[in-house]
Amino acid sequence: MAVQAKNVSMWYGAKRAVDNVTMDIPAKAVTAIIGPSGCGKSTFIRALNRMHELVPHTRVEGTVLLNGENLYSSDVDPAIVRRRVGMVFQKSNPFPTMSIGENVIVGLRLNGVRDRKFLNEHLEKSLRMAALWDEVKDDLHKSGTSLSGGQQQRLCIARALAVEPEVILMDEPCSALDPIATAKIEELIQDLKKHYTIVIVTHNMQQAGRVSDFTAFLYMGRLIEFGATTKIFTNPGQKQTEDYITGRFG
């Protein structure tokens, strides 16, 4: 298991958003997290790289192990955690003042890398892995925001890959994209899972069915069911899962 969440609960102030979730996330596979709005999906994955700590009045209980190592140990630097567990957001967010090339290597620069050759190698490698190199190799100096929505999202994936994470968290990465750009990201996810552990939050159940190996269903902060995606989408074990995925929930 790449990531093991054990009895994770999270609060925004007094409001409990995640309720005692225990989940083993397999390595080099895609795990989709589905559930209705407000069920705690995005909040939960933020606990996997301590991103929630950037939001005031949040609190976490429980443990998260990354390859056996407790991410919440007092001696662990949250910045290092976020390098090892990268994140791609719903809306693509390239740094607007930076070029395409600078956007990709900014994480390495922030980590103190100055070697030009090393940076150039990682720039090309990351863009190739994000299936964007052929489209932007002649425009690396142009602004990241000059790209289309789908390209910007792949640029953000390249930026996450550049620091060589172990896990990539994706929070609704295709919700602002058209079907073709979505298909490219989904294809990319299939390539990336050969090397990375991927956790994707999605509202689109067909997308969960297409891209993931495992699916977790969250409802009101609780993990209702976790299992192989084929099983969840053909014969879920819990009635709540069945009612949700068949569109009967409510």
Partner: protein
Amino acid sequence: MVIPKHILGTFDEALGALRNDLLMMAGLAERSLDRAINGLLQRDDDLCANAIADDEEIDQLEKQIDKDGFEILVRYQPVASDLRRVISAMKLSPNIERVADQATNIAKRARKLNRHPPLPEVQLIVPIQAHALSMFKDSIDAFVREDVELARAVVSRDQQLDDMNRSANRQLTERMVQDRDQLRGYLNLILISRCLERVGDHATNIAEDAVYAAAAEDIRHQTLTAVV
């Protein structure tokens, strides 16, 4: 069991239409089989003609069910029990269509038999027909009511139908040796018995799909002990 409605009402309507077409098709196939056998027992060519005429409407319904099913898959991307119901309905309809084909075959052979003096051995067909028809009705009921136990029971009854068919074949073959003048008549009865045995096979297929639709369990190609 009351299944809660989908949030999307048109999805429920589409599933309802698929189910209604399937029920209508099964009803027509049952009527056709009934008419064919009564055409044989009552020596009534009109009933035989009606049984044969039913086949056209059943063929059209088979195509309609395929169309309904494809449309649901494309438009609503069903999952879980919805997906199993749609896939099973699409697998059921060819089996129902073949039951109707068997009814047509029986009706055609009955018309041939009606041209000759009556054979008392026609009574051998009565229990076979009753067994085959009850298997078919129960298989459809099991699918509609999602009754896994009834579906399993249908599968277990097929062996008895096979035995009844074999026994009738044996008796009719003996009669062929004794009464060579009625050779064609006995042969037609053997083939009618065979048609009814095939109806049992289709009912078994339908019952297996009913188990899959209701319980996501594939019981095909298992020993009877494992099924029951």
